[in-house]
């Protein structure tokens, strides 16, 4: 099929994989085919770099315009967009930065990309009401151990090794601030949306583990055991209750279910 061959040559030309398309296209009375095809090729790369810069403002501020441009082109070459919306072109960027030299040598990059992406995800993820403390208060005491939570669909949570959560707002305001790239941390960040406002919050690794377990379907009883294994068992009930209370107050829980309802959430 000639059309398929033509489109393949055209796309390979855009991606920089082949120049064969220049034998098949024409410029005009003033410009060569190479110059005119170059309009498409330049636009392809520029458009994606620009879009990534919009979706990853923290990473762009962290890397600087030139560094970001160079990185974005390497990323696009490795992960051409596969989604009808350019909004999803950056979905592999954090993993790319964690795996590829030289970016993998500085964990700030992958962490910042992960953080940017979580905030972008929360922005237009599905709407859902949030449960509150009143939903928990209605659980009969004998069913507390069976409580399961369905989390808000905008919620994302992930570990970070660098304090990107603290640095990002300052970097976006002023990309020239001095940053200690040797700084490390051991915590997690969660991002979600309330109504139309995207929120984020740092949490410790115990709370992150509890969150992961509950997202995977664990019960409140399971969560209590998990916490008790990690800290002083005498302090575990209070700590567990505090974690749960925080989740409900922050609006990251969509529904509270328990066995007394006949079916878990």
């Amino acid at each position: 099929m000639d059309l398929l061959r033509t489109e393949r040559a055209f796309q390979d030309g855009l991606l920089g994989r082949s120049q064969d398309i220049l034998q098949q296209v024409r410029g005009n009375a003033r410009e060569t085919a190479e110059t005119m095809f170059g309009i498409y090729r330049n636009a392809y790369w520029a458009r994606l770099v620009e879009s990534l810069g919009i979706d990853f403002p923290g990473l762009k501020a962290l890397m600087g315009d030139q560094g970001f441009d160079r990185m974005a082109r390497a990323y696009i070459a490795r992960h051409p967009s596969q989604h009808p919306s350019i909004r999803w072109a950056g979905r592999n960027l954090a993993a790319f930065l964690a795996a590829e030299a030289p970016y993998r040598d500085d964990p700030w990059f992958a962490d910042m990309a992960r953080f940017d992406w979580a905030l972008a995800f929360a922005f237009d993820a599905p709407d859902a009401p949030a449960a509150g403390l009143a939903d928990l208060a209605g659980v009969p005491p004998e069913f507390w151990g069976s409580v399961r939570l369905r989390f808000h669909p905008t919620l994302d949570a992930f570990r970070i090794a660098t304090p990107v959560d603290e640095a990002r707002p300052r970097l976006i305001e002023n990309a020239d601030i001095a940053l200690d790239h040797a700084a490390r941390c051991e915590r997690a960040v969660m991002a979600w949306r309330i109504e139309y406002d995207v929120k984020f919050r740092a949490i410790d690794l115990l709370e992150h583990a509890a969150l992961q377990a509950m997202r995977d379907g664990a019960t409140f009883g399971d969560m209590c055991e998990l916490v008790a294994r990690e800290i002083d068992p005498d302090a575990a009930p209070l700590r567990t209750a505090q974690i749960l209370q925080g989740w409900l107050e922050w609006g990251i829980v969509a529904t509270v279910g328990h066995d007394g309802l006949g079916s878990a959430a």
């Binding site: 059309l3 055209f10 855009l14 034998q23 005009n28 309009i39 051409p80 929360a122």
Partner: protein, 282 residues
């Protein structure tokens, strides 16, 4: 959607997030808004909420960039399903995209890439337009894109390609007058020849936009006001086509809404004057 109903849309603008407050807090002189479909093919949040708030006050047209009607990849059914779901929500007067392709082998170049103008491409596009219209349960409108290259194998002028596509499939045409101007300069043909060949009854609406003139070629940037030459070509198109719904696109260097409504008021004046000069047709 009949030609008469579309005509009644009047004069519109592309909906841009920067203008949400001005639109929702005021009552701008805009008859309808065109939305970029892909921007609202999301699951929730502010974009959809704002969209529906504007929709409650204004008619809308859905305009996409990723249908890829000319691609040799299979039609993306998931994309179509999302498009249809959005259409159920928005109830648009028209659903449009472009005569172009955006990628093959599962990739998306996020650009409106040109097709070789051959009988093979025409048959291919028509078959896919039939598929899409069948799935959507309504005609779609396809726009002439600005192009920067032509193909050695081209055998059909673009205007004939469009006209024949509309004849074979019953699809509508979105006539972008700026794109006609841009491509005419880039490929050394007469813009009025293009307009002359467009079937009157097929035109669903008209796009106007600005461009960047680089002396030896023009790039369709949508970041400037409409230039005088394009206004003149628009007047020519209206004299030939009669009253057609018209809108202005601005995608970069987006000015305050009042600048665009002032430009739209000029479009109304140009169209009114052109209709006054229109020869009476029996």
């Amino acid at each position: 959607m009949t030609a008469r109903a579309v005509t009644s849309l009047g004069f519109g603008l592309g909906l841009r997030p920067q203008h949400y407050p001005a639109i929702l807090d005021g009552a701008p002189e805009v008859d309808w808004f065109e939305i970029l479909s892909e921007n609202y093919m999301v699951d929730g949040g502010r974009p959809l909420a704002k969209l529906m708030a504007v929709r409650a006050r204004y008619p809308m047209v859905m305009h996409g960039v990723s249908l890829s009607i000319g691609s040799t990849d299979p039609i993306d059914r998931d994309y179509l399903a999302r498009l249809k779901a959005l259409a159920v929500r928005v109830e648009p007067a028209i659903i449009s995209d472009h005569l172009c392709w955006t990628g093959i082998a599962g990739l998306n170049m996020h650009d409106l890439l040109p097709l070789p103008l051959t009988e093979e491409a025409l048959k291919h596009v028509c078959a896919r337009v039939d598929q899409v219209q069948s799935f959507m349960g309504r005609p779609i409108a396809l726009e002439n894109a600005s192009t920067y290259v032509t193909f050695a194998e081209d055998a059909i002028p673009e205007w004939e390609f469009l006209a024949e596509m509309a004849r074979r499939t019953g699809c509508r045409l979105l006539l972008d007058v700026n794109n006609v101007y841009v491509s005419a300069f880039n490929h050394d043909f007469r813009a009025t020849d293009y307009i002359d060949a467009i079937p009157r009854d097929a035109v669903a609406y008209i796009h106007l936009a600005g461009h960047e003139h680089n002396k030896t070629y023009i790039i369709d940037t949508h970041d400037h006001p409409v230039v005088e030459d394009v206004w003149q070509l628009y007047a020519y198109a209206i004299r030939r086509l009669g009253p057609v719904a018209t809108m202005i696109e601005r995608d970069d260097k987006i000015p305050p809404l009042e600048e665009l409504t002032a430009e739209l008021a000029h479009a109304r004046e140009v169209a009114k004057a052109a209709l006054g000069q229109r020869p009476q047709v029996a």
